[in-house]
């Protein structure tokens, strides 16, 4: 996997500056640089391959459209991830309001074009356990443990105190652990 999170900040700021001046190449570089993380985060939250593609695309386009609004003093990545997570949660809520579309929580991912190596058992169990968390809890777990944000950063991104983030994360991890243990018992 490419180390997408190790982008030098100065390089990023330069790309954003060029994008603001209308450079399509800079925009392309930004999209390519952040695509994998944005798409993976969306996929782990919504558990739907097609929706994850749409959400990642939509978030990229929203970020490009608002690039002039973006505060250059702040890092770009959390801003984009916040858009991705918000859109993912919106999508889940919209889906919950349309009960005719069933939510895939236990089987293989619907519509996924999985071209990578076959998932191992642990990853499969983790995916199923994640799917059973509440959407907000799932988003927190993904943002903390996949995207690597710390509680104060998450608090700023989600407009809640860092202590609340820590409490909710602890609750989510406890539940995730219980779900994984249950999955393991089922497996044996």
């Amino acid at each position: 996997m490419r180390p997408w999170y190790r982008v030098p900040a100065r390089d990023e700021a330069s790309l954003i500056r060029q994008a603001r001046r209308g450079s399509a190449d800079a925009v392309e570089a930004l999209v390519r640089r952040h695509w994998d993380a944005a798409h993976r985060a969306a996929f782990l939250i919504v558990h739907d391959a097609g929706a994850a593609e749409d959400i990642a695309q939509e978030a990229m386009l929203a970020a490009v459209r608002s690039i002039d609004c973006f505060d250059r003093r702040r890092p770009f990545k959390p801003w984009l991830h916040r858009i991705v997570v918000n859109r993912s949660l919106d999508w889940l809520r919209a889906r919950a309001r349309r009960p005719e579309v069933s939510v895939e929580v236990t089987g293989p991912v619907a519509g996924a074009r999985v071209e990578a190596e076959a998932p191992d058992v642990l990853s499969d169990e983790l995916m199923r356990a994640l799917a059973q968390l509440d959407p907000d809890e799932r988003a927190l777990v993904v943002m903390r443990h996949l995207l690597g944000y710390r509680s104060p950063e998450l608090g700023r991104m989600l407009d809640m105190p860092a202590a609340t983030v820590r409490t909710r994360l602890a609750r989510a991890i406890t539940r995730l652990r219980e779900l994984l243990e249950a999955e393991a018992r089922k497996g044996t």
Binding site: A56, P78, W79, P119
Partner: protein
């Protein structure tokens, strides 16, 4: 599972390859930025809207990219499917709560993001009220537009319901004011500010010009969106409208004291007002302006009864010109342009803290002079009946009348001054109002203030406070304290109201109504209201909270 293992496992979950989607996103993003053109200054991102030909050319390029190339066609089809929650044309991310708002009618008419990434949505909704089932002849249908910040628990909020029937054309420009960015309301030392408003059907462009502390002017980027065609019909709007949003960076706002000059916290009760050197200078300038210009304002007795807007403008002309010359100008100016680029309206955001006119520059005119004509009180729309409940004079001789009016909004109870401008009151479905005796143990309350200590400097030199009393209350004593803390009795007038005195106006029970006058020098110290029975027995006591 340890955090490290969890992170490792999350990273190992095989996400589907999304090469096609990524390439589509790249194509879309490139098309978006190419269609936008080159921007010299990020602050001028509204350039396409300001240069219609450039905008048209860019739009043509975008249409060509979107419609003529195969990936473009695929991408435009994808964009077409995106009308979901929070998108333009779709429902808002957060349903607005409110007594008047009709559930399920809200539509997003524009959206965007603040500099810190927090999302905003302009939402149009239908609203209305029908109290006929409660026996009150009040029914109306209306519309409203509000700026919402999904997922931000805001300290401030707003919205309105404008009655559709008999609605005049919307003004070219309506500022909803300047606010602290809701996502930065707490815990941010120098929060960004958001400037927002709506426009009428003729407006095709808005400029927001910021004047910094040293007088330099600069255009702020404006997100202006017109709502017309299908979206207008979807949003139940009777005519085209526009919305605009602009942002002022927090460091600039803090440097130029914008929040205190516009009183963005104390006015909303969410902080205290502390003026800096710029604000203090403006207040001094405004005080001088009032001294020079206030005497040019027309005498109400010289005006015709119920003067038209143009008559008022003519009468105010000398004072307006004087104020324009001597008063400080606010930091924000708005300009609305029509489709031909002509300015059709401009306005300044009022400097709230400077523009509070010092009471000692206002002449109280509530006491009639020989030859003064009594003003005629205009009737409320749909007024069925009106009854004067109480009439009397303030300590300086200003004549006042409290009257009740049955309207389609319920019963209104208002004070007015027959020889001076001023007055006001409240309307509601119940008389006496459900909270006339407070929320906690109202059965134990005999007389209580309803509303705040009011100031009508154009009518009287005193402040006044009023409220309701139980039928068995024969006397109300109101005691205020002077600057040394010594108690004084305020002059009080009490009137008892029964069904026979109300005529056509409906009340749920008999009640008393009282008014007391307090000298302005007493400030906003605590006031004691004591109710006495006919035999002199003390029935109960209430206090107003002291204000600094």
């Amino acid at each position: 599972m340890s955090p490290d293992l969890l992170k490792e496992r999350l990273a190992e979950i095989p996400a589907p390859q999304a090469v096609h989607a990524r390439e589509k996103a790249v194509l879309e993003a490139r098309a978006e930025i190419e269609a936008r053109g080159v921007s010299e200054d990020p602050l001028r991102r509204g350039m396409l809207r300001q240069h219609p030909l450039l905008g048209l050319a860019a739009a043509v390029v975008l249409v060509v990219v979107l419609l003529l190339t195969p990936p473009g066609r695929a991408a435009s089809a994808w964009v077409g499917e995106l009308v979901g929650i929070g998108d333009v044309g779709g429902p808002p991310s957060q349903e607005r709560q409110g007594r008047f708002i009709k559930p399920g009618t809200a539509i997003v008419i524009d959206n965007g993001a603040a500099p810190d990434g927090s999302r905003y949505e302009w939402v149009a909704y239908r609203c209305g009220e029908n109290l006929r089932s409660e026996g009150i002849d009040t029914k109306f249908e209306g519309i409203g537009v509000a700026l919402q910040w999904p997922k931000v628990r805001s300290e401030e909020g707003g919205g309105y319901c404008e009655e559709l029937q008999g609605r005049p054309h919307a003004p070219a420009l309506t500022s909803n004011g300047v606010h602290i960015l809701p996502s930065q309301f707490k815990g941010v030392a120098k929060p960004d500010l958001v400037i927002e408003g709506t426009t009428g059907p003729r407006v095709h462009r808005i400029r927001v010009v910021y004047r910094d502390g040293e007088g330099r002017r600069r255009d702020l980027p404006v997100d202006f969106a017109r709502v017309e065609g299908r979206l207008r019909r979807l949003a139940s709007q009777p005519e085209a409208l526009g919305t605009f949003v602009a942002f002022l960076p927090g460091d600039v706002a803090a440097r130029d004291e914008v929040a205190s000059r516009l009183d963005l916290r104390a006015l909303m009760g969410t902080g205290t007002l502390k003026l800096g050197p710029i604000g203090r200078g403006e207040r001094a300038q405004a005080r001088e302006g009032f001294r020079k210009c206030a005497h040019l304002e027309p005498n109400p007795g010289d005006l015709p009864p119920n003067p038209s807007r143009s008559a008022m403008e003519r009468a105010m002309g000398p004072a307006t010109r004087c104020y324009d010359r001597y008063m400080p100008t606010g930091p924000l100016e708005y300009m609305a342009y029509d489709e031909h680029g002509r300015v059709i309206q401009r306005m300044n955001e009022p400097l709230v803290t400077a523009m509070v006119r010092p009471a000692d520059t206002i002449k109280a005119e509530g006491r009639e002079e020989p030859g003064d004509k009594r003003r005629r009180l205009p009737k409320e729309t749909g007024s069925d009946a009106r009854k004067v409940l109480m009439s009397g004079r303030a300590p300086d001789g200003a004549l006042y009348e409290f009257y009740l009016e049955q309207t389609k909004y319920g019963v209104c109870m208002q004070i007015w001054w027959p020889y001076a401008f001023g007055g006001g009151g409240s309307c509601g479905p119940d008389l006496p109002p459900a909270r006339a005796y407070g929320r906690r143990n109202p059965e134990r309350v005999f007389a209580k203030p309803f509303g705040f200590l009011s100031d009508e400097p154009r009518a009287t030199t005193s402040r006044y406070i009023s409220g309701f009393a139980r039928p068995r209350v024969a006397r109300v004593q109101v005691v205020y304290r002077d600057s040394r803390g010594r108690p004084h009795d305020a002059p009080v007038q009490l009137a008892h109201v029964t069904a026979s005195t109300l005529g056509k106006i409906e009340a749920s029970e008999p009640f008393g109504f009282w008014i007391a006058f307090i000298p302005r020098s007493a400030g906003h110290r605590q006031i004691t209201v004591t109710a006495y029975a006919g035999n002199g027995d003390r029935l109960g006591e209430q206090f107003t909270p002291a204000r600094p």
